[in-house]
């Protein structure tokens, strides 16, 4: 069994076709047409992705690595479009297309009233195409193309409601912060090309061991290890895309976009591109303990401290957003301890349960008429049982209750960090353990505030106030609803149910092969000395045993503790939450202000940048460049041109004379040179 080129091409291009049809012919094919073609494209893509996974896993197909098209060649460097499909890629393809398909279906319900319906479908299909190009790439150039393309679509979608100033602010912020990361990424790619002379994965990985001992003189008196430089630079790209501290600030704001894309782009797929990339580059990272330590510390910091912010958030989507930041931190920590397959495994389970949580939150938001503040919710479980149950499933997976898929991936990461001896692993272990407790705190708080307790909203009937679009919702006072909340339509609940199933089960069935069975094979490379998962494999005696053992482990104890605390506060003694807040006012302020990271960025980079820009504009651009260089040189050119124009007099004998002069010039010049 071998993988067929045409199938792979179809997987990548089917969403693009859908995107183009919905985007350019949106008016002609209408709403139904737009969602039909894009969903059909995704269906094809998803079905074939499963088939490819089947071929690779069960059929024993070897990894596919071919260049399909050579874009250009300059010297010995050639840029081409090609696919590398091994087990890692196949898994990512399935996750991307599956979640994307469900999000497409979900969007039919969520965006039903929106004017930009076709545009939205076009964008998310374009995103799927870009993401597939990213994961299927067999070279850095195409990786970068996909990387930028998903960034672009993310930008477009965060600002989807482009009339909202907050949305425009958020997408600009996301774009700028990502630019910082991408700059590092580009430098990293350049460094790869510089040291290894190629951008093709296979060539680069084969040559990677040659990096050992090479150095780069960046600062004076200190030569930097090449592998570390490359690793750190590439990881800076991942920090932007995967929202790692301190480039994490864009992700919470990106919640301004419609909820389906929060689920698809900002939880399940795009933000995990960084994780995927580092896992893909494992042969390079394995060469540098320094880069891996850097990755681990950054990830651990994010895992704990962004989770803490989640505790004080009132916006239902923001809680999930901070939880995403925290979970991305977990994946990054796993990368940092060389447990790449653990990171990718968590990436997969997280994609399912976090998409579920986002879509569930979206379902709640629909029911609450686009009210997102949890302080005006409560008791919703009566009104929307399916959303309630599925979100509980997602939450249980998130807090890692044994037997759920989240448990397997997260517990494996915590164990791996515990087993690691890398510099900084002690700090990382503390962070991930405390993070488990924090995760449980904000998750249970969110569930209680939303679905349990008293109803903190009132239904105010407006007569003759029938069907209306989103903008109308803004007119209501907080906590006042025009209709009673009700369960969402089937296009919304079906994806919830379909995501709940893998959230519960996928970990149980896949942990054995994926983490400890060497399922990834050649796709992920781990040095023997770093192989923490290999150490853990000795203690692994099947998924069920691991779950049962999980009940007696530290993380579960912390979760249980958090459960007791939150249950007491939010179900039995709601007033206590306020008291705690006042008692720990300083701490609360720190969290509410998000450690002032945003404020510092504003004060230093944004305002400083504006000031610097104004200085350069006035002194540099307006005076020197515009005044002297541009207008000055343009003026000179203009004068010369006006003079030369007179040569073209229109007289035939002038023209002939010019030719004769030219002849004399050539003859004379030649004579002089000949002398």
């Amino acid at each position: 069994m071998t993988l067929s080129t045409s199938i792979l091409l179809t997987i990548a291009l089917a969403p693009l076709v859908g995107c183009l049809l919905a985007g350019f012919l949106g008016k002609q094919i209408g709403r139904v047409g737009a969602h039909s073609v894009t969903i059909l494209g995704l269906l094809v893509s998803c079905g074939l992705s499963f088939y490819v996974l089947y071929q690779i896993t069960a059929g024993g197909a070897p990894a596919y690595n071919h260049n399909l098209y050579t874009w250009f060649e300059i010297g010995r460097f050639s840029a081409s479009v090609g696919f590398l499909v091994d087990r890692l890629t196949a898994m990512m393809m399935v996750v991307v297309t599956f979640v994307s398909l469900l999000v497409h279906v979900y969007t039919i319900g969520y965006m039903a009233d929106d004017d930009g319906y076709q545009r939205f479908f076009s964008y998310i299909s374009l995103f799927t195409f870009s993401m597939l190009m990213l994961v299927m790439s067999n070279n850095f150039m195409q990786l970068f193309f996909g990387w930028e393309a998903v960034g672009l679509v993310s930008y477009l979608l965060i600002g989807f409601w482009y009339k909202r100033p907050t949305a425009i602010f958020a997408n600009l912020k996301a774009f700028l912060v990502n630019r910082v990361g991408d700059f590092g990424f580009l430098l990293g790619i350049a460094a790869v090309l510089y040291f290894l002379g190629s951008l093709d994965y296979q060539t680069v990985f084969a040559a990677a061991p040659g990096l050992v001992g090479k150095t780069l003189q960046i600062t004076q008196n200190h030569a930097w290890d090449a592998a570390t430089v490359i690793g750190v630079l590439l990881f800076i790209g991942a920090m932007g895309k995967s929202a790692q501290v301190p480039l994490h600030v864009w992700l919470p704001d990106s919640m301004e976009g419609p909820t389906p894309i929060s689920a698809l782009i900002h939880a399940a797929t795009m933000v995990t591109a960084g994780i995927f990339m580092v896992a893909r580059m494992s042969p390079i990272y394995e060469l540098s303990q320094g880069a891996l330590s850097f990755v681990m510390v950054i990830g651990a910091t994010g895992a704990l401290f962004t989770g803490l912010i989640g505790i004080v958030q009132n916006d239902i989507k923001r809680v999930v957003a901070y939880s995403t930041l925290s979970q991305l931190g977990y994946m990054t920590v796993a990368l940092g301890v060389s447990a790449y397959s653990g990171a990718v495994f968590h990436l997969m389970t997280h994609a399912f349960f976090k998409a579920l949580l986002f879509l569930g939150a979206g379902s709640v938001i629909i029911a609450m008429h686009h009210e997102q503040d949890m302080r005006y919710m409560g008791g919703l479980r009566k009104y929307m049982p399916i959303t309630w149950i599925t979100m509980w499933i997602g939450s249980l997976a998130l807090v890692a209750i044994p037997f759920t898929s989240g448990f397997y991936s997260k517990d494996a990461i915590i164990e791996a960090v515990g087993a690691s001896h890398r510099w900084g692993s002690g700090y990382a272990y503390f962070c991930v353990l405390a993070g488990a407790f924090v995760t449980a705190l904000y998750t249970f708080r969110q569930m209680y505030l939303t679905f349990h307790g008293k109803e903190r909203f009132t239904v105010v009937e407006h007569h003759g106030h029938g069907h209306h679009d989103h903008d109308d919702h803004g007119h209501h006072k907080p906590g006042e609803l025009a209709h009673a909340p009700h369960e969402s339509p089937w296009v919304v609940t079906l994806p919830l149910i379909l995501l709940a199933i893998p959230s519960l089960l996928v970990g149980f069935f896949t942990i054995g092969p994926m983490l400890f069975g060497g399922w990834f094979g050649q796709a992920i490379h781990v040095e023997e000395a770093n192989n923490v998962l290999g150490e853990l494999a000795g203690e692994f005696h099947g998924a069920a045993a691991m779950a049962l053992h999980g009940f007696w482990s530290w993380p579960f104890g912390l979760v249980a503790l958090a459960f007791v605390i939150t249950t007491y506060i939010y179900l039995f003694n709601p007033a206590m939450a306020g008291k705690i807040k006042t008692a720990f006012k300083p701490l609360w302020t720190v969290l509410d202000r998000k450690y002032w990271v945003d404020d510092v960025y504003f004060a230093v980079f944004a305002r400083g940048g504006v000031k610097l820009g104004r200085l350069f504009w006035k002194a540099g651009d307006a005076a020197v460049i515009d005044g002297a260089l541009v207008n000055g040189s343009a003026g000179v050119v203009q004068r010369i041109a006006a003079g030369m124009r007179k040569l073209q007099s229109g007289y035939l004998y002038h023209y002939a004379f010019a030719m004769i002069l030219g002849l004399i010039l050539l003859l004379g010049g030649f004579w002089l040179v000949g002398q």
């Binding site: 098209y69 050579t70 874009w71 250009f72 060649e73 010995r76 343009a634 050119v637 203009q638 010369i640 041109a641 006006a642 030369m644 124009r645 040569l647 073209q648 229109g650 035939l652 002038h654 023209y655 002939a656 010019a658 030719m659 002069l661 030219g662 002849l663 010039l665 050539l666 003859l667 010049g669 030649f670 040179v673 000949g674």
Partner: protein, 482 residues
């Protein structure tokens, strides 16, 4: 003695001659209302010629008529693109000609004769064939320029073209006679061997200089460029688009035949001369274009500068350079047909649409035409990722490879200066308000609209994947892509 094989080698040319004569007869017996048929027949004739060129392609090089005619890959590629450009010209020209009572059979036959001249010129294996092919091309061109007999501007342009052309032909012929005197042969292949050890090297070089003037005139490089602005402006736009496209390919072919096939041994001598001409062309073309208000005249100066860039490729005097120059010639032919095509698409009876001010606010009247013009302008300016960018990149690279970094720098500087006037057209189209009293309507001709769109979009497509075309160009000069 010539035999049947010789005729097979020249099959496309013979076929075109026969077809042109038949078209001429057909036109004489045809009612004016039936000219549409002639139009489509001419296009069909050219397309069949393309087929014959491609289908009859020999493996390697074939010669005929005692080496008078050489059929190799270089000639094949130039012929195919010259024929295709002429097809585009025919499609674009029809509504314009019909609006001005110029829709006559002679336009088609003369253009086809000119194409035959081009095909003979690029396949020439002998100085005599070069000269006669050139004369066939230019004589047809003179007549085409003068086609609008009632326009004084047109007649003036034709007279200037004719007199200066005759002068240049005279110099070319003089140069050829000197070369013949120095080497005793007219055959390019024999010249190649004889040039290195000529008894009279100075006489040979003296002839070379005169031949370069003939080439320079045909290319339109400074200071032999003076005819270009007047002819481009004076000729009916339908003729200008022809003169601006296929003959440029021929000029490259002629330069290649004379300089490389014939006098390649003297490369070290003509390299510097071409470099000087290139600098002059870049300077004059780009600078004077800035102050033009007439778009046709602007494009004329742009031609001069583009031919300067083409010379950068020739200066290299190696296969890489020739490939770059040929790539450049092809790209320029396609870009200029697109730019003139837009002018033709917007012109109507009594309104030439050739002033830059006529394009004010085009985006509001016809966004698609404005976009096509934008593509053409950006490509001419060499904005990535359009076709023109890579063509410029390649010739600059060729100049650097020839150890003429200073020339490449001059080229890059003038490319930036050139950006100004191309962008001015774009600015006028997109940011200015439409002029009062100017009605911008697009010709309703369907074939024109489709072909023009295809032509302009091709600039984008070839800008993104220029690999295959460059591959052909390189293969024609014996280079194999790595």
């Amino acid at each position: 003695m010539p035999n049947f094989n010789d005729i097979l080698v020249l099959l496309p040319e013979f076929y075109l001659v026969a077809a042109a004569c038949l078209l001429l007869l057909l036109d004489a017996f045809m009612k004016p209302e039936q000219r549409g048929l002639l139009h489509w027949l001419s296009i069909a004739v050219l397309l069949v010629a393309v087929y014959l060129v491609v289908a009859g392609q020999p493996d390697g090089t074939a010669t005929a008529f005692n080496g008078m005619f050489v059929r190799d890959r270089v000639a094949e590629i130039l012929k195919v693109f010259a024929l295709l450009c002429t097809v585009l010209v025919f499609v674009y020209a029809r509504p314009y000609l019909a609006d001005r009572k110029l829709f006559v059979g002679e336009f088609y036959t003369l253009a086809i004769f000119a194409v035959i001249g081009i095909m003979l010129l690029v396949s020439a294996g002998n100085l005599v064939t070069v000269y006669l092919g050139l004369e066939l091309l230019t004589l047809s061109s003179y007549a085409l320029v003068a086609l609008n007999r009632d326009s004084p501007l047109s007649s003036e342009a034709a007279i200037k073209y004719f007199v200066l052309g005759a002068l240049a032909s005279g110099m070319l012929l003089y140069g050829m006679s000197m070369v013949y005197g120095a080497t005793g042969t007219l055959s390019l292949a024999q010249l190649h061997g004889a040039a290195a050890h000529s008894a009279m090297p100075n006489l040979l070089l003296f002839g070379l200089i005169f031949m370069i003037i003939g080439i320079g005139f045909k290319l339109g490089v400074a200071p032999f460029h003076m005819w270009i602005p007047d002819v481009y402006q004076g000729a009916p736009t339908a003729v200008t688009v022809f003169i601006g496209s296929a003959p440029k390919l021929a000029a490259f072919g002629m330069a290649y035949r004379l300089l490389e096939s014939g006098l390649g041994d003297l490369a070290q001598h003509w390299q510097l001369m071409l470099a000087v001409l290139a600098v002059l062309s870049l300077a004059i073309g780009n600078l004077v274009a800035i102050v033009q208000s007439n778009l046709k005249r602007l494009l004329a100066y742009s031609t001069i500068s583009h031919m300067g860039y083409l010379l950068l490729g020739l200066v290299n005097a190696g296969p890489e350079g020739y490939a770059a120059a040929m790539f450049y010639a092809i790209s320029y032919a396609l870009m200029s047909t697109a730019a003139f095509g837009v002018i033709l698409a917007l012109a109507r009876a009594g309104f030439e649409c050739e002033e830059i001010d006529d394009f004010k606010g085009l985006n509001q009247r016809s966004p698609w035409m404005a976009f096509l013009m934008l593509l053409a302008m950006f490509s001419l300016a060499g904005v990535p990722p359009l076709f023109g960018f890579f063509a410029k990149l390649l010739v600059l690279q060729a100049a650097i490879d020839a150890n003429m970094l200073w020339l490449a720098i001059v080229g890059a500087v003038f490319a930036i200066i050139g950006l100004y006037y191309y962008l001015r057209v774009v600015k006028v189209m997109y940011f200015d308000k439409p002029q009062d009293g100017v009605r911008l309507e697009v010709q309703q001709d369907v074939s024109l609209r489709w072909m023009l769109s295809l032509n302009a979009l091709l600039l984008l497509v070839l800008g993104l994947c220029w690999g295959p075309l460059l591959g052909w160009c390189r293969a024609a000069f014996g280079l194999v892509s790595a």
